[in-house]
């Protein structure tokens, strides 16, 4: 899977993932008014609006970037209509040729984890009395995974990944301030996140592709550049998924050391900074109706920032 991802990064020259994390406050009036005025406000109508919004963003950026990352929490909050919107968004993005990272942060053990892996990376296979079916439910190309429960759970994702040509990004060092409470604890001369990084490298050892990167990536927040540098050393063959760009404060110059010398090795996520760009000063001229074009312009600016300041030359 990761060879395919790197091909797409090279083709676009943009190691970027657009976060599809819709919120009520991001919706432009041209969508909100059209849907909520006749239909009122409900989880159904909001899910419908989110899908319209996502489609316009996907259409506006699909030739610029290799990937999108829907955050499932935003959809779960809308219940069943939200999960349908998530499913439709994943399909729409895949059909547009994008690689889809499901930001689901799942994690469990044994057969329970196998169920998550089937739901989010594989397919659901059911059989009874000689009849059987195989259905894709919420499957994306990659899923984010929480490591706290250890290898038992990770292995189920690896198995589903192998069978379905998909991969995972394991939470290693997250971008939020309190991530440090446990992740930064000293365990005999190294930090917990370093130990997790070593395991990520190990978990990926069986799936290193022709560019030298495995199907087991790592989530490494953009907000701690010195940590990014250290983790790059510990996980040379690991693709980093980097949250925290833009709205959370990091910019291209902070991300130089998240990339390897080959100019590859990281995919930087921006959500609000792109999908709600039309609300920001620099993109106000696009107006409400131009929200998708504002997203496109913000994506182009992000590509420029990464190329000029993070030494990305893929």
């Amino acid at each position: 899977m990761t060879d395919k991802f790197i091909d797409a990064i090279k083709k676009t020259g943009a190691p970027i993932c657009v976060g599809l994390d819709p919120k009520m406050s991001f919706l432009p009036e041209c969508i909100a008014g059209k849907i909520f005025t006749p239909k009122g406000i409900s989880t159904e109508s909001v899910a419908e609006a989110f899908f319209e919004y996502n489609k316009a963003i996907i259409d506006a950026v699909k030739d610029l970037v290799p990937s999108v990352k829907p955050q499932v929490a935003m959809y779960e909050e809308l219940g069943i209509p939200g999960m349908l919107c998530y499913q439709k968004t994943v399909k729409y993005a895949k059909d547009a040729g994008l690689i889809v990272i499901g930001d689901v942060k799942r994690g469990d053990i044994g057969s329970t984890c196998a169920s998550y892996a089937n739901a989010h990376l594989g397919k659901t296979e059911l059989s009874y009395g000689g009849k059987s079916c195989s259905e894709i439910t919420f499957a994306t190309d990659y899923a984010t995974v929480n490591p706290y429960m250890g290898s038992d759970g990770i292995n189920e994702f690896l198995k589903a990944g192998k069978e379905n040509d998909s991969g995972i990004f394991v939470l290693v060092k997250t971008s939020n301030p309190s991530g440090a409470e446990f992740q930064d604890l000293d365990i005999g001369g190294e930090k917990l996140y370093e130990r997790v990084a070593e395991k990520v490298d190990e978990w990926g050892s069986d799936s290193v592709g022709s560019y030298g990167y495995s199907d087991v990536g790592a989530v490494v927040g953009a907000t701690y550049p010195e940590v990014g540098r250290r983790l790059r050393e510990l996980m040379p063959r690991t693709l980093f998924l980097v949250p925290g760009y833009g709205a959370q404060g990091a910019s291209g110059k902070d991300l130089k050391d998240y990339f390897n010398k080959d100019g590859l090795g990281a995919v930087v996520n921006s959500s609000r900074g792109i999908i709600a760009a039309y609300k920001k000063d620099g993109y106000a001229e696009f107006g409400d109706e131009g929200f998708a074009q504002a997203a496109r312009a913000a994506t182009q600016d992000m590509i420029k920032d990464l190329r000029e300041n993070a030494d990305v030359y893929c």
Copy 2:
């Protein structure tokens, strides 16, 4: 919330939670044949069968135990029909007077985590142009939560819990062998799970009820009795949710130290051992049609085991 839970534990005399983790292989032929023969096999028909199965189990145990714990992974695997089944199962169990623990193991940061908290513990509130709605989507009385990202995420669950009279169980020490990979790491004289336990005690300090237990519980696996003892000391006012009984190898005598001197402080989960009891030697006389009565008998045996061997005298 936890006062209400303890009232229910005292009333039933059973510190037990029945895990509603349906699988194809658990379904009795009396349900499978009735549904799959006419309808064939699909995520829809399996979700329908799971709901029939759950309802029968709930009806058979609802006067014996205070709580059930559906494992959302089993439902997510069935996609949208599965999530509908999860939602209906939660409602059916609540309507039966049971406390419902959503085993969702969610965890994220900031507004993303707030969305999870609204989905699984609270309600979804939406407004636009003077119109608004408030809907309950997947909300349970408790949700299991992953601590790896620290307080940022936990605080959103605590906020939703406070507003909606609900609580959480934070993963501290899980029952699986590889849980030790990170959870057992030495961090300057104590284990990582001990540090997490200290934070759990702190997170719960604002919600201690009249029995002396807070709304922030801990998941503590049954498979490591000496760890249970240590964690009981570190978290005297924390309700333990204890997986690993029965199928994973632990029995009543292993759980003595998971309880406080008041005979309270833990809720022991059993899933397969109860819901698929009719497939086990000791309950074979119930047969396929008696699967729910076998679950009832297995629950009664579990209560007896805990009372006699774990010194439970609630």
